[in-house]
């Protein structure tokens, strides 16, 4: 897989922009009663949002392999951000943590299943994004030829 500087920049930017929805959904899945707005642990909504979050990576990336790597990248970035949010009381709010191993084990145990949803939804979203891009391009090409014929 060959990457140029633009590819890396694009993938990095998309990983950054698609990470917040992943982070929020993971955090919300852990604490649906205190998060705002809450998805109430509705896996269908989580799946739909993970499709939506992946649409730009398909739309802006011509190469399918890069689009799929972007899905992995933003899922990892989002999950890391979710762990940071989960640790907020002990890092930002200066509370004392009693059982850190248990605390994080609980988080991974509860949310690990979401990673499959994010990646699966991400792949579907990528394909959907590429389809949308191709449809728009097709329409544009058609319009260009139509304009040319008229002219």
């Amino acid at each position: 897989m060959r990457l140029n500087r633009d590819d890396v920049a694009k993938m990095g930017l998309m990983a950054l922009l698609s990470a917040p929805p992943i982070a929020f959904m993971t955090f919300d899945f852990m604490f649906p009663n205190i998060s705002t707005p809450s998805l109430e642990k509705n896996l269908m909504v989580v799946f739909l949002i993970s499709i939506l979050a992946a649409v730009p990576s398909g739309y802006f990336t011509r190469r399918t392999d890069l689009a799929m790597v972007t899905v992995f990248l933003y899922t990892a970035a989002g999950y890391t951000l979710a762990v940071a949010l989960y640790s907020a009381p002990y890092t930002i709010f200066d509370l004392e943590q009693v059982l850190p191993a248990f605390y994080y084990a609980m988080f991974f145990r509860f949310t690990v299943v979401l990673l499959f949803l994010f990646v699966l939804g991400g792949f579907i979203g990528t394909v959907f994004g590429q389809m949308v891009r191709d449809m728009i391009r097709k329409e544009q090409t058609g319009l260009t030829f139509k304009d040319g014929n008229e002219g």
Binding site: L17, P20, I34, T36, F60, L85, P89
Partner: protein, 199 residues
């Protein structure tokens, strides 16, 4: 860089993407802030200054009283679910009347008690023991103790008080059936007993 050219070209799509991302980023910040606030509330909401007393009132009855402060420095109102106080005298020498109840009080969820944010509330309970049967037991305990070499009066008897309060933080949902940890997250359970102190 070519990427900026493409951003310029697709500025509507990129703009929508940024708005989508910022929405979830704000939700993350708000939610993490709430989580921090709730965790701080769990740490900072405490019971303090318990005072136990017993006084002789007219007609020789005894007024057993107890007061304790609930300190809520958090930004959330506490909705009291249950609140209970129980006072007793333990008579270890008796086989039939080992526990002599001298006072009790209870408030359930239907009483809608609240502890506003950033306040300290003092709960005071009392009960005038005038029932001849109970007074007889208390005096019996005093006389029995005297025979063993310990001098008590109705005011100095070793009454044991126990107090407990269960309250919900804010208006967060707390009635999950399977996810008990979510209920625990927004529930404050505090108690006091003469023997164990504040817990």
């Amino acid at each position: 860089m070519a990427i900026f050219e493409r951003v310029k070209k697709h500025w509507i799509t990129v703009g929508m993407y940024i708005v989508f991302s910022l929405f979830f980023l704000s939700a993350c910040i708000v939610s993490a802030n709430t989580y921090g606030g709730v965790a701080q509330a769990q740490r900072d909401i405490v019971l303090e200054s318990p005072v136990e007393s017993a006084d002789i009132v007219p007609h020789g009855d005894v007024n057993v009283s107890f007061s304790i402060q609930l300190h809520n420095p958090s930004r959330y109102t506490l909705h009291v679910y249950t609140l209970s106080w129980y006072a007793k005298l333990v008579n270890a020498s008796s086989t039939s009347d080992r526990v002599i109840p001298v006072g009790e009080d209870y408030s359930g969820p239907t009483h809608y008690l609240e502890v506003p944010a950033r306040t300290t509330l003092t709960y005071t309970f009392w009960n005038v023991v005038s029932d001849p049967e109970t007074m007889e037991k208390l005096n019996g305990f005093i006389n029995y103790s005297k025979s063993l070499g310990t001098d008590y009066t109705l005011e100095t008897l070793p009454y044991e008080h126990s107090f407990s309060i269960i309250a919900m933080i804010g208006d967060f949902q707390h009635d999950y059936v399977r996810e008990g940890y979510l209920n625990d997250l927004v529930t404050v359970e505090l108690g006091y007993s003469t023997q164990e102190g504040i817990r």
